[in-house]
């Protein structure tokens, strides 16, 4: 995103252009996933598929505060993070199809998107399991004198895992440059926040580790971006880890397997009224910097991009079975 942003800010109103870019990213994520849902129903994507629909503002806003060479570690619900970080739709879609042109060569699938070029370190499907990795990347950056921030995403459910606690303490103790982004979408699968946590103010709890923490409206991409920038600036300035609790909601079920029996339909509808894409579009409209035509152009552009991605993925070759045992060990020395 940063790269794209940079290439476009030469136009007349850089701020407006930037906000349109944010909108485009969110639309790309939304449409990408809607396409995935269809392809899943058609049996062309398999395994587990967790959609981010409704939460796009979180990944989009945070990534906007990161540099291209800064690492992101995230979960199985990561298509949005990948696209926002700059992984393009084509290798991402190919990964969904399990093709060798996929960003993880088809070995990872939806839950394990990896991309070295954009410093995208997964795609971790053990809840909370990615957090220590992010702490380690931050440690390496610090030890090697690189001025980088590593961002890590995880859910409200992950906050209950021991690894979260250990990692928060370690990051705070060593004042490591890591931005911990807790996507609080109020559910861990079918378990509501109040059934996961005795004390549900997660930002407050994170602050008890000596980590600066804020709760942020995760449906407002500009608010997310602003909070992330502020946190990243402070981290770059040496203030140690920061924690953002991003209050958001998933509009769809936990995964394609989930019948979503545990949520009140009215609750879902209420949250849909706060759709982050509609909200930003309305704001841009109000500011006179979007309009019907521009929005249609974004949609058309995204649709074309996805069409190409799907076509390419469909045609791409499968990895030959004779290569099964590759990548268990490195093919080159250290």
């Amino acid at each position: 995103m940063s790269a794209r942003r940079a290439s476009r800010t030469s136009r007349t109103d850089p701020a407006a252009e930037h906000r349109r870019d944010l909108l485009r990213t969110m639309v790309l994520i939304r449409r990408f996933e809607e396409t995935c849902a269809e392809l899943y129903s058609a049996g062309r994507i398999r395994g587990f598929l967790h959609l981010y629909v409704g939460e796009e503002a979180v990944a989009t806003g945070v990534m906007s505060a990161l540099e291209p060479d800064e690492t992101v570690v995230t979960t199985y619900r990561e298509h949005g993070h990948a696209l926002a970080k700059g992984v393009t739709a084509e290798p991402l879609m190919a990964e969904m199809f399990g093709k060798v042109t996929g960003c993880s060569r088809g070995r990872g699938g939806s839950m394990h998107v990896f991309d070295r070029d954009t410093h995208f370190l997964g795609g971790n499907a053990v809840v909370a399991g990615g957090i220590p990795l992010a702490v380690g990347v931050a440690l390496a950056d610090r030890m090697q004198g690189r001025d980088r921030v590593t961002a890590c995403f995880f859910g409200d459910g992950a906050f209950a895992e021991g690894e979260l606690h250990e990692s928060l303490n370690l990051a705070a103790l060593w004042r490591l440059p890591v931005l911990l982004c807790c996507e609080n979408n109020l559910y861990a699968m079918g378990t509501a926040l109040v059934k996961e946590h005795a004390q549900t103010d997660l930002a407050l709890r994170a602050s008890s580790y000596g980590v600066r923490s804020w709760a942020v409206d995760g449906m407002d991409v500009l608010a997310v971006e602003e909070a992330a920038r502020r946190a990243v600036d402070e981290i770059r300035g040496g203030a140690g880890p920061h924690f953002l609790e991003l209050r958001t909601y998933r509009f769809r079920a936990h995964s394609m397997y989930d019948a979503d029996r545990y949520r009140d339909k009215a609750e879902i509808e209420r949250w849909k009224e706060r759709d982050p894409i509609d909200a930003l579009a309305a704001r841009l409209d109000a500011d006179g910097v979007l309009g019907e035509a521009a929005r249609s152009a974004i949609e058309a552009d995204v649709a074309a991009e996805l069409e190409r991605a799907v076509a390419a993925a469909a045609e791409a070759p499968e990895e030959p079975v004779s290569d099964l045992l590759r990548f268990v060990h490195s093919e080159e020395p250290a």
Partner: protein
């Protein structure tokens, strides 16, 4: 001591006293029977309640038994497995569900260092009558963090019993037997079996968790399998039959302690053995079974024991790679045939 009242609510009654059911529903009936029959029994784990269990096994039980006895937990594998151990020590009969064996690594310290060890370490004072259920296995394109078969590790731990239902009977009946055991029992459900359909007697028959079961008799070669590999072993036996090889298929069922007598008895009859195991080959449970056969039936063997295991690779998402990594009816049959090919002996 645990008295399980026979259920009278079969899924679908049939005139002949049998019910059409699935592996999933059979497991659910087992849970329902246990919850009905003993107040000390409760089910606890992530999403066992409102969600109905990540694979739908416990659907409806929350409504029937309430949130005290069908207890949703936070994502805290170590704490809720440990709490199950503590509750078992203190007089309850907890059934703890860990979604999959992959995540059970987060609770392995509790299972190994407490559940399996407390009785011994305390000189016999504190027993742990706990059942832990989890899903194991691959074959559903869930990739490298959701597909592994690690039950062999648990079968290494003294103090545990480890069982793996492969049939509807066992899916329904093993839980009662596990709960009747005074010590911790781990029950491994195979993810690819949940939708298996079949019929069961309306009245649940008691199942024993001490013995292997011969699922198909044969005379020429013994194929040993369990859990998700049993259907593949049976398919291989069909295939072998059409090539004139009579394969006996033994369902290990109990992974610890192994029913060595049954294994050896079959191999001593057939003189050839193929061990099938969805775990990775090196250090697999299949290695143990093969080693025992080679140790104790060495002079009865007409060919080396063959093993068919999963390729030594974290399971990939891509279907063709995953398929190639897992044992199949074809690779099992080929291994069995290879027992007849040798020029030595």
């Amino acid at each position: 001591m645990t008295t399980t009242t026979p259920t009278t609510t079969p899924t679908t009654g049939t005139p002949t006293g049998t019910v059409e059911t699935t592996y999933r529903e059979a497991l659910r009936e087992g849970l329902r029977d246990a919850l009905r029959g003993d107040d000390r029994v409760f089910l606890m784990g992530e999403d066992v309640g409102s969600y109905g269990g990540c694979f739908g096994v416990s659907l409806g039980l929350l409504e029937e038994f309430g949130p005290e006895r069908v207890r949703d937990t936070p994502l805290s594998e170590s704490a809720f497995v440990g709490a199950g151990i503590g509750a078992a020590v203190a007089g309850m009969r907890p059934v703890v569900e860990v979604m999959t064996v992959n995540f059970s690594l987060l609770a392995l310290d509790q299972i190994m260092n407490n559940a399996a060890t407390l009785l011994h370490m305390s000189g016999g004072q504190f027993a742990v009558p706990l059942v832990i259920r989890m899903t194991t296995g691959g074959g559903r394109q869930l990739a490298a963090q959701h597909s592994h078969s690690l039950e062999g590790w648990y079968a290494h731990i003294p103090g545990l019993k480890v069982v793996a239902p492969a049939t509807l009977e066992d899916a329904r009946g093993m839980l009662a037997a596990a709960l009747a055991d005074p010590d911790p029992v781990l029950l491994f459900e195979h993810g690819s079996l949940y939708n298996t359909k079949g019929t069961l007697p309306a009245e649940p028959a008691p199942v024993d968790i001490a013995h292997a079961a011969v699922r198909r008799s044969g005379t020429d070669v013994t194929v040993l399998a369990y859990g998700g590999m049993l259907p593949r072993a049976l398919a291989a036996a069909d295939d072998l039959a059409s090539a004139g090889i009579s394969a006996e298929v033994v369902d290990l069922r109990v992974l610890r302690p192994l029913d060595e007598a049954a294994v050896l008895a079959s191999v001593r009859r057939t003189h050839r053995a193929v061990v099938v195991d969805e775990g990775w080959r090196s250090g697999s449970l299949a290695a143990e079974v093969a080693a025992r056969i080679a140790e104790q039936a060495f002079y009865d063997l007409d060919a080396p024991v063959a093993r068919v295991c999963t390729a030594e690779v974290p399971l990939p998402y891509a279907h063709q790679l995953e398929d190639a990594a897992l044992p199949s009816a074809e690779t099992i049959a080929a291994a069995a045939r290879s027992c007849f090919g040798g020029g030595h002996g």
